[in-house]
Amino acid sequence: MPDISVKGFAGKIDSPNPFWLASAPPTNTGEMIMRAFDAGWGGAVWKTIGEPIVNVSSRYSATDWNGQRMMGFNNIELISDRTVEQNLTEMAEVKKRYPKNAVIASLMVASNREAWHEIVARAEDAGADGLELNFGCPHGMSERGMGSAVGQVPEYAEMITAWVKEKARTPVLVKLTPNISDIRAVARAAKRGGADGLSAINTINSITGIDLDTFVPRPNVDGKSSHGGYCGPAVKPIALNMVQQILADSESALPLSGIGGIGSWRDAAEFLLLGCGTVQVCTAVMHYGYRIVDDMAEGLENWMREKGFRTIEDFRGLSVAKVTEWKHLNLNYKIVARIDEQQCIGCDLCHIACWDGAHQCIHLDRVTGPVDGHVELHRTPAEEEVESRALLAETPVTRRERAEVFAAGPYPTPLARIPRVDETECVGCNLCWCVCPVEGCITMVRVDQGVAAETWEQRTRQGVESSR
């Protein structure tokens, strides 16, 4: 069985697996964290410790999509509402009982050197394996000069990181906010300040929605709302991009704990492939509970076994180099869509998507006769609909009529409804493949162009040279 343990993350943090709970409600108390460790979580970043705050009610709201709850999630909750003493006493207890699990203290105090020195010392005395500096909280705390107010100003971030490093004996991770035009600015500042690692991303500024009866955005706090931090499955693509940006930049790159929409082993594997050393999870646990970690661990192990990876280090970062600038992509790589007639169910979503959203090269002309070429040669989707509405339909009331209506043909779908790709016009954009509801029905097939690979950079450089 593959070994999914993490050794020496950010210098010296060990964890039985890469799955950590992010600093959030699921890590509010020692009791909760111990239950999480029992469920199988490798580590936990304690709900941010600092001067206790007062929260409002309500605090959360979500974006549902197409019947799925919590595609995106939003909160306006602040840091821990319990005293530093309470949190650290429990942390000592947790470390005593679970010495092998990683316990990270997330910290946020006022921006002065003494306050940071004091909290660092107290957290480490309680047994924290590492520290995570919360420079990311985008709501509430930022109005008081903390959280993302620090994380959005590279100079502040560097200064506070340096203060912490003066005192810290354990690895120091800086948690980055995505609410900045280039996340690398603060990543570089943290690195300059001496950080041992980074956590990214924190939540994204958001208003999840507005109640159309009361006109009050959610969450509603006595008739008013405030922007919150967005997270959950919806933010994963944004997080992956920022993780890639950080780890592809030598001035930013540090051991990274990936955060953002992770809810399954697949999500986790993607963050690890982009170079993360651990991953942090919150929304999925708030939705389903700590129990989700067993499939995350099992699924990752099974995938590693299938791929022949023995440890996380065998594949960590493999995808970093597979992301490049657009100008380095091969302009002569050509793929086209192919539709498997035996699998097509005749929804014709690829047809309308290609016509209205892409390049007008998927047609319904298998029966009338293929027409290749420009848009003007074809009937438009609107004309097709008018034609179809003009056809008479009758209820098949006799057995014979029903046998005719439901007669089996060469394909499961009548040929007239199986779209055809005009490969001379297909630009290989993938849209049809994205909309097709049947897995494997549309494949994107490489077409040999008979020419060598050539990038935009190469082509324009040649242009410049030939014009000389």
């Binding site: 169910i345 005749g346 014709d348 979503l349 609909e385 509405r389 209820t395 029903r402 209506v405």
Partner: protein, 444 residues
């Protein structure tokens, strides 16, 4: 409109409770979200009225329930009753692409009902389609779905339409002939009431049965739409059929829906195996008959009833006797008031039904229910000048419904020989559009 002719008997209501419960709001949204929103959807193509099915379903998903209902009503003014009576297995739901992926088809009928229920609850009317009034007056003879659809479309387009109905209440088979557990007579009447509010005039209890009556209509109206339906049910043509203890399927259904029949006991034999036969057999069970047989002269494979209707009848406890022919009905000498239905087993040889020797059997029963189809309407048809009738059906253009006489249009059962409500609606609507177009050309 008086609704005294339909029953509100609590016993009937209890015994004929709705077959399928309505979807809750959230269940409807979940189901609506499941719809793939196909382009030029096969469900829409399969529907005779071409309701934009994904269009109304996605409006349910988005919470635009009024838009959803209007979308339905624009295509099919009887959208509420069709949601309950359509054999969707062989129409929209049967065409759903989901089945090709081994997934359950979208529950289109229940979603349509959800949208229509919300519309009824709002008390609103579907909007008119045309900007202003037109000088066009049309009489629709017969008050069934074809005429209702024709008249409603005409009024929504600014024309005037009058429905002339022989019976006390309009609605045709929707009011008098559909199993109550599918569509309550009261709901059919409510739908008619909506059409009346759209501006359709109703003349009920009026039988157009003479040449002079037709003359009067021709003088009053520009066009006449024939939505006559079919005639009385066919007779078995066996001795003893008129001696009591016999009530045909449509009479039986109308009788319990109008409060004239509250209970049945003993054994009922329904002769026939179509969808109406099944409605009557199920009704007999629900009215209290202990034993209900369906007797069919051919085999199960030739039964015209839809498969889901056959399955339903079995669940209701109806028993089926195949390849058996009724030959006579006579009083049971051993039991006062009961009947003996003489039957014989038959075998098909080259399409002919040949009685088997020594297969006579007398079934003791309390009621015989012939359900072997409706006869064509012959009386009035013979009086229609220039309207061709072939095999008991009015010959009309398939698209426009126009007959050989340019002022007469026709649709529904009297043209198609007996199909579903949705087919009648489609025929009526197409005829209305053709009349409007014809009038436009005439005035241009």
């Amino acid at each position: 409109m008086s609704t005294s002719a339909i029953t509100d008997d609590p016993q009937i209501r209890e015994r004929f409770g709705e077959l399928k419960p309505a979807l809750t709001r959230q269940a409807a949204v979940i189901e609506a979200d499941r719809c793939l929103n196909c382009f030029d959807a096969p469900c829409t193509a399969a529907c005779p009225t071409h309701i934009d099915v994904p269009g109304f379903i996605k409006r349910i998903a988005s919470g635009n329930l009024r838009g959803s209902a209007v979308k339905i009503l624009d295509a099919n003014i009887l959208g509420a009753s069709c949601a309950r009576v359509c054999p969707v297995d062989v129409l929209c739901e049967g065409a759903c692409v989901m089945v090709r992926q081994n997934r359950k088809p979208i529950q289109i009928a229940l979603l349509q009902r959800h949208a229509m229920d919300a519309f009824w609850a709002s008390g609103e009317l579907p909007p008119v389609k045309a900007a202003g009034p037109r000088k066009l007056r049309v009489a629709c003879i017969g008050g069934g779905p074809a005429s209702l659809a024709c008249a409603a479309e005409l009024c929504r387009q600014g024309a005037q339409a009058t429905v002339i109905e022989r019976r006390e209440l309009p609605g045709g088979l929707n009011t008098y002939g559909v199993a109550e557990y599918k569509l309550r007579a009261a709901d059919s009447v409510r739908e008619v009431e909506m059409i009346r509010k759209l501006g359709v005039e109703f003349r009920c209890g009026v039988d157009v049965d003479s040449a002079s009556a037709l003359d009067a209509l021709e003088a009053e109206f520009d066009f006449i739409f024939l939505g006559l339906g079919l005639g009385a049910m066919q007779r078995l043509n066996v001795p003893g059929e008129d001696s009591g203890g016999v009530m045909n399927a449509l009479e039986l259904i109308a009788a319990y829906k109008t409060g004239h029949l509250r209970e049945l006991h003993g054994t009922v034999v329904v002769v026939g195996a179509g969808n109406t036969a099944i409605d009557a057999a199920n009704a007999a069970r629900r009215l209290g008959a202990e034993t209900v047989y369906m007797l069919y002269r051919r085999s199960q494979n030739e039964m015209s009833a839809f498969d889901f209707e056959y399955e339903h009848a079995k669940q209701e406890g109806v028993q089926f006797l195949w390849n058996r022919l009724p030959v006579a009905i006579r009083p049971d000498p051993d039991a006062n008031g009961r009947r003996l239905l003489e039957t014989v087993q038959v075998q098909q040889v080259n399409g002919q039904l040949i009685p088997l020797q020594n297969s006579q059997y007398a079934m003791e029963c309390d009621l015989v229910v012939p359900a072997v189809g409706q006869s064509p309407l012959t009386d009035l048809l013979q009086k229609l000048r220039g309207v061709e009738v072939r095999d008991g059906r009015i010959v009309a253009d398939r698209v426009t419904g126009q007959t050989g006489n340019a002022r007469y249009f026709a649709g529904g059962d009297c043209v198609n020989g007996g199909r579903e409500v949705v087919d009648a609606v489609a025929g009526g609507k197409r005829a209305a559009m053709a009349m409007l177009k014809s009038a436009e050309v005439a005035h241009a």
